[in-house]
């Protein structure tokens, strides 16, 4: 599969602060990658560099283009939600569709209208008259009506209720995603996208702390729930992180086989959120 995003030693600093610190990775076509990190980890800065919204050091190529210098060409082939609630509030829905239609060669207005017909959004409505959830539906309808090779979503569901969020991800998978397309997504609600992702990348303090395919996670990481003596024995295998759950110990291991931990307690593959905490906090300890 060809690589859509290729980053080699990408850095971006704001004054003395290194927001993105020597990051290298590849994102291949047909993947859904989750970019996970705490606030201020550099996620948004990295996304902005990928979208050509900010300059950066190092070699960054998106669809074979220099995102900052060839932003117009890039924007014809990618679509993104940088943040929810950034649609201009004064515009009418049909004006918005007309405008995107006239500047975007890959935008299909019939497709957007079909998506919107499933919602309660009326064509004459102004954005300011819509609820927060409807604005996001509108935004999503527009960008998913763009025949884009790469879709970038930065916190697309922030501030939305659970029903909207479920619907959003459902639509994304059922209506939008196929083998030709690639999605890069960040969110704090990690659990909700866990089953969606094919790949995951953790970023902390501007550095990538983990980049793996979801299929590879069970082999590389295992979580052991145990207590007492068994916990003591398991600790000798150098867990990367340990936490307490209902008076029991949960130890996270990296590169330890399930065979080695057999008989010490309950084994399972850690969830993304737990794994993230283990990687970030474990590294800090």
């Amino acid at each position: 599969m060809p690589s859509l995003v290729s980053a080699r030693n990408v850095s971006k600093s704001f004054g003395p602060v290194l927001a993105v610190n020597d990051v290298s990775f590849e994102l291949e076509q047909g993947k859904i990658m989750g970019l996970i990190g705490p606030n201020g980890a550099g996620k948004t800065t990295l996304l902005k560099a990928i979208l050509g919204l900010t300059d950066c050091d190092g070699a960054l190529s998106v669809l074979g283009l220099d995102p900052f210098r060839q932003r117009k060409e890039l924007m014809q082939n990618i679509s993104f939600i940088a943040d929810v609630a950034v649609l201009p509030r004064w515009i009418r829905v049909n004006q918005l569709l007309s405008f995107v239609e006239s500047v975007h060669p890959r935008f299909s207005r019939p497709r957007a209208e079909e998506l919107l017909s499933r919602t309660k959004i009326l064509p004459r409505a102004k954005v300011r008259e819509l609820s927060k959830g409807m604005v996001t539906q509108l935004h999503l309808s527009i960008i998913t009506a763009v025949d884009a090779k790469l879709l970038v979503l930065d916190e697309p569901t922030i501030g939305l209720d659970i029903i909207f969020r479920k619907e959003f991800y459902g639509n994304l998978l059922n209506d939008y995603f196929d083998k030709e397309r690639t999605i890069l997504i960040t969110t704090h609600q990690v659990e909700e996208i866990e089953n969606l992702l094919t790949d995951v990348m953790f970023i902390n303090d501007g550095r990538i702390v983990l980049h793996a395919s979801m299929d590879a996670l069970p082999e590389r990481y295992v979580e052991l729930m145990t207590s007492g003596e068994n916990a003591e024995r398991a600790r000798r295998l150098n867990p990367i992180f340990e936490r307490d759950v209902f008076g029991k110990k949960v130890l996270t291991f990296e590169g330890i086989t399930r065979e080695q931990l057999k008989g010490l307690g309950e084994l399972r593959t850690p969830g993304i959120a737990d794994l993230f905490v283990a990687k970030v906090k474990g590294a800090a300890a």
Binding site: D55, K72, M75, A82, V86, P88, R89, F99
Partner: protein, 307 residues
């Protein structure tokens, strides 16, 4: 490129409805004032008949001049409003999109920053003047039509007094040239406003006008020269598109009679001196300053990341 400009400029008109609402409102007010005036004047029955008789007996040049002065007077409101519109529009153009963060959405579409900023400049120097001109022309027609009806009701020959005498097309051409020339002459201010709009974090109006007021004062008190004062105030007070001719030469009263000056024409066209305007270094210097500020505004929109 052109298709994008059309779409972008159309978007500006959707967003800034004041661009066409303001001239329409003024047009309605002026027309209403004209009706009110006619109704008021109608109460002076005897004096009125004498006046109409007097006007009817004026020479053709005097009648043309009279109507030119009347219609040009109407344009004044629109030209003033146009300049106010341009100021508020340009100060808002690159500020509002940052304030409501919609810039993140606009920049997710395949339009370059240069195209976007250019569309806003073109809206200020081209679209607003054209809309203003259209409003002026329609209002003049309406007011002249109302006057015709009124004159007809008082037994006067409206064709003779109004339509036959009005050098409408010459006046329109002159008005069009004038409203197009004004923003070009004031373009350094327009460029500055766009730059402030792209740059400032708050209160663009204040940020735009404080330096215009403070810089000349500082210069005068610190080094005693008036370079900035001249640049700011002499420019806004002069307009080389207007020829040497004084409006006072245009029409005058002699022995209580309205007279057209012998040398003067009776339309607005001879008042303009396009050659002098295009040949004035101040115009080109101003356009260069506007270009510089606009380029900086593009640069700021492209490089600054404050979302």
């Amino acid at each position: 490129m052109i298709a994008n400009q059309v779409a972008l400029i159309r978007r500006e008109l959707w967003e800034h409805r004041a661009i066409y609402v303001t001239p329409v409102v003024i047009a309605v007010i002026v027309s209403l004032m004209s009706i009110t005036g006619q109704v008021t004047v109608s109460s002076f029955n005897n004096a009125l008949d004498v006046a109409i008789l007097g006007i009817t007996n004026l020479g053709e040049r005097e009648r043309s001049g009279f109507i030119t002065v009347l219609t040009a007077g109407l344009s004044g409101f629109f030209v003033l409003a146009m300049w106010v519109l341009i100021i508020f529009y340009t100060l808002d153009a690159l500020y509002a999109e940052r304030k409501d963060r919609s810039i993140l959405f606009w920049r997710s579409l395949p339009c370059t920053d240069a195209e976007t900023v250019l569309s806003k400049l073109l809206t200020a120097v081209l679209v607003i003047p054209l809309v203003t001109f259209a409003a002026i022309a329609v209002t003049q027609l309406v007011v002249l039509a109302l006057s015709s009806v009124w004159l007809g009701m008082h037994g006067a020959n409206a064709w003779h007094l109004v339509w036959g005498a009005a050098p409408l097309f010459e006046n329109w051409l002159a008005t069009l040239v004038f409203v197009m020339a004004l923003p070009l002459w004031l373009s350094p201010f327009i460029g500055w406003f766009l730059f402030v709009s792209a740059f400032t974090k708050r209160s663009p109006l204040l940020m735009a006008f404080l330096p215009i007021l403070i810089l000349p004062m500082l210069e005068k008190s610190l080094i005693g020269t008036t370079v900035f004062a001249d640049a700011f105030f002499v420019r806004s007070g002069s307009l080389p598109i207007l020829g040497e001719m004084d409006v006072g030469d245009f029409m005058f009263f002699e022995h209580g009679e309205l007279q057209a000056a012998d040398s003067a024409a009776v339309s607005l066209l001879p008042l303009l001196n396009v050659g002098q305007f295009l040949g004035s270094p101040g115009l080109w210097l101003g356009l260069a300053v506007c270009g510089l500020f606009t380029t900086t505004a593009i640069y700021v929109r492209r490089y600054r990341d404050d979302s």
